[in-house]
């Protein structure tokens, strides 16, 4: 596959660099900020709601609006994740762990700046990969059968170790609880209904967003309320000199690249998305090792890994969409409808027949990334002031935000009740020293592991050895075994 010719790129740029189109990108980015940052609303919801508005619009306008939402939406959820431990979208949950810790230590400015820059760079790296290698990478996606997805799911579970804090045993128990929550609903292999206890609302499973809001935001609020902590007890917020950023990024350059590649590849795989990408990148960030360098250095690595990975999903997920017509994540699934209405059936011919439109998509994403950068860096000083609000005012506000977020998912009260129940459960578990993140990871990865294990076995006539003999799966299992052996050896050496 040849690269796209330069004149096509230039023609694409000419089509995009018009005041009207740039304005629509800006509108998209702003809408993306709102949908990304509001718990309960996601980039997927934003793109879905905006799609019918593009029915009468031109291709450039439609893509400017929708891709603007896509690009900014995957980032913006990190802002509430950092400031109030409430991930705006599932893809930003991993960011909350270290981001919120930095914010509580008076470094919200640093955390937000890192999240913005890592997101934008992750997005740009994935965009470059989309531009030069889309058709070849699409074939890579097709190497993944149930067997490989199972191995990938298990590999993702390694990150439980990275997020377990003090007690690995409690982390594993939490992950097991999350995986149990993941079995609720209609079983995707056998078609039977499990553990719904007559609640029809649970047929589709325990939805991820209410669980995230409950285990992250509600549990943390209850902990703070119980501790009667005062905002004045928090260290004052420090201002970050922007000149320090390049140095921090350079020191973590390899991590940023690695996480962006992880995000891009996870994005390419259909049926996955920013949530899995950010947890895997977080697990691979080596932040545990960096703890020797101090908490700030470790937390820096966590934020960079999670945010570069989740935004790198954008370019990756467009690869199978634009080369096979198969979406790489939930937003690209919605984009199919938007493309169809433009008279474009995305598939193997898209890049060949519509090179000009492909170039426009690339340039719109580039512009959206730069706008996100400017807006994100612009907001980094203002937003941390939220942390100076006294908890007796802030916590009820967050509670209302959580409840409305839960309601917004289906415009129904069930999810609000679910948040309340799971939130109290999370609080009790947290009081007993259970970390919250492994529960959520179990809920995300459990169904992937279970469904693909069973499908993989059925597809291979119940032959267990395929998990070891298929190369990608074998390599992933080997990597898991190696990681476990290495940490066991390290633990023994430490005594």
């Amino acid at each position: 596959m040849d690269l796209i010719p330069l004149d096509t790129i230039l023609a694409g740029a000419a089509a995009v660099f018009q005041a009207k189109i740039l304005l629509w990108v800006l509108v998209g980015v702003l809408v993306g900020f709102v949908f990304g940052a509001s718990p309960g609303l996601t980039a997927t919801t934003g793109v879905a709601i905006a799609t019918p508005l593009t029915f009468g619009a031109s291709f450039e306008v439609a893509m400017a609006l929708l891709l603007g939402i896509y690009s900014a939406g995957y980032f913006a959820g990190s802002i509430p994740a950092i400031l109030i431990n409430t991930p705006g979208a599932p893809g930003n949950a991993a960011t909350a762990l270290d981001g919120y810790r930095l914010a509580r230590a008076g470094k919200a400015d640093l955390a937000i700046s890192l999240a913005v820059v890592a997101s934008v760079l992750g997005g740009l790296i994935s965009l470059a990969i989309l531009m030069v290698a889309a058709p070849n990478l699409a074939n890579f996606a097709l190497e993944f059968t149930s067997v490989e997805y199972f191995a990938l799911g298990l590999f993702g579970l390694i990150c439980v170790a990275a997020v377990s804090g003090g007690s690995l045993v409690k982390g594993i128990m939490g992950a097991a609880m999350g995986m149990f929550l993941g079995t609720i609903g209609i079983d995707e292999v056998g078609g039977t209904t499990r553990f719904t206890f007559g609640l029809y609302e649970l047929q589709g499973g325990v939805p991820l967003i209410p669980a995230l809001i409950a285990f992250f935001a509600v549990a943390e609020m209850l902990l703070q309320a119980a501790a009667r902590q005062d905002a004045a007890a928090l260290p004052p917020q420090q201002v970050l000199a922007l000149a320090r950023l390049p140095g921090i990024l350079l020191r973590n350059g390899w991590l940023l690249l690695k996480s962006s590649l992880i995000g891009t590849f996870i994005g390419i795989l259909p049926g996955t998305g920013p949530t899995i990408a950010s947890w895997i990148a977080f697990g691979q960030s080596g932040r545990a090792k960096a703890e020797a360098l101090g908490e700030e250095a470790a937390a820096t690595r966590g934020v960079i890994a999670a945010e570069s990975a989740n935004n790198a999903v954008t370019g990756g997920a467009l690869v199978p969409l634009l080369t096979l017509g198969i979406p790489g994540d939930t937003v690209t699934a919605v984009l199919i409808g938007a493309l169809l209405i433009q008279g474009i059936d995305p598939g193997p011919f898209f890049i060949i027949e519509h090179g000009d439109l492909f170039a426009q998509i690339l340039i719109i994403l580039l512009v959206a990334a730069l706008m996100t950068l400017v807006l994100g860096l612009g907001a980094r000083r203002v937003l941390p002031r939220i942390l100076t609000i006294p908890p007796r005012v802030l916590l009820p506000l967050i509670a209302v935000l959580c409840a409305t977020g839960g309601f917004a998912i289906n415009n129904a009260p069930f999810e609000v009740g679910l948040i309340a129940v799971l939130g109290v459960l999370g609080y009790v578990l947290a009081r007993f020293g259970f970390p919250m993140a492994p529960i959520v990871i179990g809920l995300v990865l459990g169904p992937i592991i279970e469904v693909n294990l069973r499908n993989g076995l059925v597809a291979n006539d119940m032959d267990v050895t395929v998990f070891a003999t298929r190369p990608i799966s074998g390599a992933l299992l080997l990597a898991i075994a190696g990681t476990l052996a290495w940490s066991a050896w390290r633990a023994r050496k430490r005594g």
Binding site: T44, V47, A48, I49, T51, P52, L142, E143, F144, T145, S146, G185, I186, D187, E188, G190, T192, T193, Y200, E201, Q203, G204, P207, M221, A225, A226, R228, P270, G271, L324, G325, I326, T330, A333, V334, L335, I336, G337, A338, L340, I341, P346, G347, P348, R392, L395, P396, V400, A403, T404, F407, N410, N411, A412, P413, V416, A420, V458, A459, D461
Partner: protein
């Protein structure tokens, strides 16, 4: 403890404030006097959702109140359909019903509604189902697959959107008629099922033909059997099952329904208005873009089709062990 109480209160006030206003009984004559909700039991943005929004937009113009599309995805349409069943029986909540959710799911396990909890207004569109294999597959015709499955029972694998989906149930009906046994693997949606075929995990995929038109045109997939009466316009070279001697037609259909018990005058008015709106060129043009077939059936004909589907499904679901 004070904080906890405040928190709980905050959460519940928010929930109560936002809860849908329950409808007071309205005189059918004035219908509609307030916005009407259309529940789409699938995610926003896809073709079905698009077609619902097309109809909503037209109905708004025709009837003078907003028709609001509300997406409640999950459980193969079961979750949203159950939600629609909870609504007041006044015709202010409509359901974009589909084959599997409406006529198979309630037979498998109580999903919170029965098929006859809803009164059909009109069937709107359908999507023909096709059987496709990977380009390098040895199977060139439906007969090749039937023969291979006869030679090695259970060895041929196929994918559909999921267990209990119309596509799955009907492929099992086909297998039963042919006296063969094949293994099913769910694809977690139509595109996922296509991916499993491209990756070689399964031998063929049986999903709505619109899911793979571009792949078929590019020669990555070969469509060897369309389960429709005639060939479909966007796959002119793909033969039907009928052409190959198999009397087998399957379509996923979508149509509007409302809760049983809604005033008859309201149902009649909706039937009349939807019929007018659906049978216009603008509506047809939009459906076509989504590769959906315009397939209007009035309330009575739609009811017959639903009943026929239920009768057929209950036989086969028992045989494949999904129905108790």
């Amino acid at each position: 403890m004070g904080h906890l109480k405040k928190l709980a209160a905050a959460a519940w006030i928010a929930a109560a404030a936002a809860a849908p206003f329950t409808a007071a009984p309205t005189m059918a004559a004035g219908y509609p006097e307030k916005p009407v909700e259309i529940i789409v039991p699938f995610g926003a943005g896809d073709a079905l959702d698009g077609s619902a929004r097309v109809i909503a937009d037209r109905l708004k113009d025709a009837m003078g109140v907003p028709f609001i599309v509300k997406n409640i995805p999950g459980a193969g349409g079961g979750k949203g359909t159950a939600e629609a069943n909870k609504a007041a029986h006044d015709g202010y909540t409509l359901l974009m019903g589909s084959t599997g959710a409406l006529t198979a799911r309630p037979l498998i396990k109580d999903p919170g509604y029965k098929t006859d909890d809803f009164v059909p207004i009109a069937q709107l569109v359908e999507s023909p189902i096709g059987l496709a294999v990977k380009a390098d597959s040895p199977f060139k015709s439906v007969k090749d697959i039937v023969d291979a499955a006869k030679a090695a029972p259970g060895k041929i694998k196929y994918s559909t959107p999921g267990p209990g989906a119309t596509q799955h149930i009907n492929m099992e009906i086909f297998a039963k008629d042919q006296g063969i046994k094949m293994t099913h693997i769910g694809g977690r949606g139509g595109k996922g099922a296509v991916t499993k075929t491209l990756s070689g995990e399964v031998d063929f995929v049986f999903v709505g033909a619109a899911n793979y038109t571009s792949l078929a045109k590019a020669g990555k997939l070969r469509v060897i059997g369309v389960a429709a009466d005639t060939r479909v316009p966007y796959l002119p070279d793909s033969p039907t099952f009928k052409e190959q001697g198999y009397d087998f037609t399957v379509a996923v259909w979508f149509g509007l329904l409302t809760n049983k018990g809604a005033p008859q005058a309201v149902v009649d008015k909706l039937r009349m208005e939807v019929a007018k709106v659906a049978n216009t060129d603008e509506t047809r043009a939009l459906y076509k873009k989504f590769n959906l077939h315009e397939a209007f059936l009035d309330g009575a004909a739609f009811q017959q089709r639903i009943d026929a589907n239920v009768a057929k499904h209950s036989v086969v679901l028992k045989e494949i062990g999904l129905m108790k």
